[in-house]
């Protein structure tokens, strides 16, 4: 009980200090362009709880989930294929480096012409941007599989899919998940950017809209929402990671303890 209270105090300490500094610093400000903590919080509930939740927040979340899910699944499949095959790796690596270097936002107008300006374009942009850390980390993770382990699996006659399932995937999992962790914020960024162009709904669209109509506290409340969203996604990821990598963290704890 006491320990969790202390943990909570540690977690909330810095945010509270920052808010206090901000609150004091903005006390005397009269410019409407300076955000203040209290109106921002009241606006937060006014703006985002209600119609906008269904017309902007949920569609945005849908695009983010669809885009990053595609990126993760496709990234792992491609990464596994390439990682397991030396020839394929030499064949594809330069192309991967080429495409990875292209900033996805510049592709939005091109995607818009080829795919159209609907949700599929946005999901494609998110998936295109978020896939690279997953692919590259999966390749590295698969390549780094322990030689002795691989030999052992071979001699026990574990081949093909079962080798992937029981040896390769588990040993690559820590690195794959590191890739997934990197891909999540990229997904959020691209969700917002893709909604700023050719848009009629979504978080990115609303924030631009509020900014244009000089609704400054409301606009900042949208940015606050994005921050909270990022925080929630990383919490969720930690939970999932803890579950998947329970053995790995257990091992680490043991090693650290010894």
């Amino acid at each position: 009980m006491r320990r969790s209270l202390i943990a909570l105090a540690y977690a909330l300490g810095l945010p509270l200090i920052l808010i206090a500094i901000w609150w004091i610093a903005s006390l005397g400000a009269t410019s409407i362009f300076v955000p203040k903590p209290v109106p921002l919080v009241t606006q937060f509930f006014e703006v985002w709880i209600g119609d906008r939740f269904f017309t902007d927040v949920l569609p945005s979340l849908g695009r983010f989930v669809a885009g990053t899910a595609i990126a993760i699944v496709l990234g792992m499949l491609i990464g596994l294929g390439v990682g397991l095959n030396r020839g394929l790796r030499a064949f594809t690596e330069p192309v991967f480096e080429f495409f990875r270097a292209i900033p996805p936002p510049v592709l939005i107008p091109i995607f818009a012409l080829v795919i159209g300006i609907g949700d599929d374009m946005r999901i494609a942009v998110i998936a295109f941007g978020a896939i690279w850390p997953v692919i590259l980390n999966t390749i590295e993770g698969v390549r780094a599989a322990d030689e002795v382990q691989t030999e052992t699996s071979r001699s026990y006659g574990i081949h093909g899919l079962s080798r992937v399932r029981y040896q390769v995937l588990p040993s690559a999992a820590p690195q794959i998940l590191a890739g997934v962790r990197q891909s999540l914020p990229i997904g959020i960024i691209l969700m917002v950017i893709s909604e700023m162009l050719y848009a009629s709904s979504g978080l990115g669209f609303s924030i631009i809209q509020l900014q244009r109509s000089f609704a400054v506290p409301q606009m900042w409340s949208g940015i606050l929402l994005l921050g909270l969203l990022g925080f929630a996604v990383s919490l969720l990821f930690k939970l999932v990671e803890r579950r998947i990598l329970r053995w790995y963290h257990g091992l680490k704890d043991l090693q650290n303890a010894s």
């Binding site: 410019s31 009629s200 400054v216």
Partner: protein, 333 residues
Amino acid sequence: MTRTRLFSAVALTAVGILSLAACSSGSPSGPAETETAPAEGGGGGELTPITVGLLAIAPAAAVQYGIDEGIFEEHGLDVTVQMAQGGAAMLPAVSTGQYHFGVGNPLSVLTAASQGVDVRIASGYSFSLDEGEDINAVVARAGEGIESWADLEGKKVSVNAVKTQGDLTIGEAVERDGGDPAAVEYIEVAFPDALAQLDGGNVDAVWIPEPFLSMAVADPDKYTVVGHPNQEAIPGLPTMVTFTSGAVAEDTELVEAWRGAVADTLAAATDDREGFGQTIAEFTGMPEAAAANLRLERLDAELDPQLISDLSDLAQKFAFLESAPDLDTVILD
């Protein structure tokens, strides 16, 4: 008596010429005597440095034309141009005094004013044509049954920015035609991409200004003009105004100098279509031939306050403005 008057006139002229020479040679400040020289006729006093925010669009090039032709200098102004992304992005810079004046659309000014930003309209700038072929229109694919405003009901229409002049005037036009303005879906597409998105079937109609409108009109097999929304909603709608804020707005002399310079500049640019065309080409980077043939909005520094009042009423009717801005304050006397 006559002798002294003649003498002082000569002296003043000499000082005027000297200070002009000082200015043209790039001296930051003229000689001290110029302080006593009368400002009338221009060139007598020091130039007041001002910063003006502009958008990279053809009508805004008129300010550049006025600078190049020395019209602002004649009015005692040394203008530095700052390019802004959009009208709304320019407003904070004007309200904090970074820019002395901005040239942008009046609806953004009204929106800002209704949110408590201190911003005042200093003069008119450009106006939609109140009759004939206007400089912007809603265009649809030919032969697909979108012939009138009411046909836009339930359709996707592209505008450059949602909740600005495009969807405001289209909404009013649809309503007057007996349609439901709330049933039109607006999608943000930049003007240069609009026709491509219309071709691709991603939108059903597009709101486009010149030069894209002329491109569409030139291809009647492919495109049909639904109508000119500005003329339906507010004929002669101001498309851009000049605005200022705070201490600059209180500086009556500066505002008067600015107004005079803008009026002369716009008149000169309208008269010298060829020279203005060249400035547009340099300013916007469009090909010279296109700039020379570009159909332009009416440029005029005079602003009928009724037009702003009508715009404000319309924007409140469609809930673009939450509260009515105080037009007596917003429109600078």
